[in-house]
């Protein structure tokens, strides 16, 4: 990801390594180069076949793809698939759902890891801190299948929460399988799964803050809140801004597996996102050309957004994802 940094390090390393070598044993050097190329071959073959080979398959977005005729035998139809897509209200509903969920995530998910990191950072008792960190990171490694199942067990009709509410004679809550509650539910799932993991980057930034600044501020009479406001926040602002920009660049992606697992329970009106639209049109419906067009549309817009986000990051003096 961080190409810029690594490249710079390379160039430094390259100079002393290459020059004496070239003078002394040029033949050996070339042999090493080929040995390395050989080592690289399986990985390179993978990328060429499964990424670039597959990428070529996007031509069917411009064709009326018929499996029997194959990718190259099918008729070209120009932009017909795209025209149909732009006129399809289901597609726009999926786009709207995607954006809506992404915005909810940015508003409600994004601050949670930050707050949790600040809280963890204030703990001076490292045993407690490490224990809470271990527990909080764990859900990141649990598959979406299990996370969705856990939420069903806890929040479902016959789940833990409703069991207690029922016993206490209170109203039970209708969350699982309720289309109206679906968007808050998926945001809650993302918070449960990834908020702990998300603290890592903020904790790293917090640990970089110069301790002396806190001391100086405290001596000048700043209390904990003012120290947080005037020392901590400015110090971690670059990371926060960067992550926010990167999330905005990736706004067309909102947990494909998570949605696919729950779409049938709440219906497409609530849960259809661009990725599930592609899946149901193409894989389930067999309308490959049309689905590929929707996928390609997402890919191109997504790449442009990442590109734009990176530009903005550079404009703000941040490093961005690439240079």
């Amino acid at each position: 990801m961080d190409v810029a940094l690594h490249e710079r390090r390379d160039q430094r390393a390259e100079k002393p390594a290459q020059d004496p070598e070239k003078l002394a044993r040029p033949a050996r050097k070339r042999f090493n180069g080929w040995a390395l190329a050989l080592l690289m071959l399986p990985g390179l073959a993978y990328f060429l076949l499964f990424h670039y080979g597959a990428l070529v398959g996007n031509v069917i977005a411009f064709k009326d793809y018929v499996p029997f005729d194959g990718m190259w035998g099918s008729q070209w139809t120009g932009l017909a698939n795209f025209q149909r897509m732009f006129g399809d209200s289901d597609f726009w509903a999926a786009v709207l759902n995607t954006l809506w969920i992404a915005v909810l995530q940015i508003v409600f998910y994004f601050p949670v890891p930050l707050a949790l990191a600040v809280l963890l950072h204030t703990l001076t008792w490292s045993t407690v801190r490490r224990f809470v960190q271990s527990v909080a990171y764990l859900p990141h490694f649990i598959s979406w299948v299990i996370v969705v199942a856990l939420f069903q067990q806890v929040l479902g009709d016959t789940g833990l929460v409703n069991g207690y509410l029922g016993d206490a004679g209170l109203h039970t809550v209708d969350i699982i399988g309720n289309p109206d509650a679906f968007k808050p539910l998926v945001v809650a799932q993302v918070i449960w799964k990834d908020a702990g993991w998300g603290t890592i980057i903020f904790l790293a930034a917090l640990s970089q803050v110069d301790e002396q600044q806190y001391e100086a501020a405290a001596i000048d009479g700043a209390g904990p809140w003012r120290r947080f406001w005037h020392v901590t926040l400015p110090a971690i602002r670059p990371v926060v801004v960067l992550l926010l920009i990167m999330r905005l660049g990736d706004i067309l992606s909102v947990g494909f597996e998570q949605m696919l697992l729950q779409r049938d329970a709440v219906g497409p009106e609530a849960a259809e996102i661009i990725d599930t639209f592609v899946y149901y049109q193409g894989i389930v419906g067999g309308d490959y050309g049309f689905a590929a067009a929707a996928g390609l549309f997402k890919g191109v817009i997504g790449a442009l957004l990442v590109f734009a986000a990176n530009k903005v990051a550079h404009r703000l003096g941040e490093q961005g994802v690439y240079k």
Binding site: M1, D2, V3, H6, R9, A13, E14, A17, Q18, N32, G33, L36, A37, M40, G43, F50, Y52, A54, L55, G57, N58, I60, L123, T124, W125, V128, V132, V135, A136, Y137, L138, P139, F141, V145, I146, V148, A149, L150, Q152, Q153, V154, G156, G159, L160, W192, I201, E211, E215, G223, L261, V278, G282, I283, A291, A292, G295, G299, A303, F307, Y322
Partner: protein
Amino acid sequence: MTATRAALAARATRAPRPAWMEKPRPLTQAAKALALVTVVLLVCVPFLVILSTSLASTDEVVANGGWVLWPQDPTLKAYRDILDGGIVTHALGVSAGVTVIGTLLSLACTIGLAYALSRPGTFGRKPVLLLVLFTFLFPPGMIPSFLLVKGLGLLDTYASLVLPVLINVFNLVVLRGFFQSVPEELYEAARLDGAGEWRVLVSIVLPLSKAALAVVGLFYAVAYWNSWFYASLYLESDHWPLQQVLRTYVVAGSGLTDITTGEGTVTAPQTVQMAVLVIATVPILLVYPFLQKYFTKGVLTGAIKS
């Protein structure tokens, strides 16, 4: 005397409060403690519920309305039922096999590519690096990938769970960064001793990169173990791994086939469903301490920052 005190201080896990910091107020401390306990409970209680329910008897679960927080009379019957041959046992074998073989293949290919891309002399290093990083910006898309796997004749083979996801760009970048941080002098010394690239990699670079290899290997293993979508996309149901079985019988609540025998049309009892959930979670819990060990070494922090 001072030495003992210093040793004691070093052993104590609570760092001394700096002189300039205010004494924490009890109310703040209580609020913090409450927040932390809430976080821990929110993560742990769901796991406790599935574990307890899987250990309870079917009657107790039914009497309690679908779940149990603390089984009165723990029994391993649910586990015996599903591990006694049948769909789940088979799926467990598939998951384990795909995870082990997939992780080894992924690790080998990632090491080769990462090492080659980290050395200055590699033929075509710059273009290959750009080629690889571009895939991060522009993935090929679901439909073309599916048609490619189909076209290669990989449908309904276990290879379809491994080959299309063989190398993860993030893991590659982590490993490459780690290889680059090996001091250049070591390469020099090895080369003067007449070691070729292969020898340098095996005897010097890999032993020095154990921590990074462990993390990347565990990331791959967790990803293979947790994967279900490719199985649902490419495999027939008699080849399914555990997560896809879990998805069908527990998440979607499909009662078409008896989960233990593969025959009949009975919905699996709640205890059995929860036992499958536990079995799918346990391997993650087992490798987690090892992953955790390397968080503290800062491997991941450094990797994620980049």
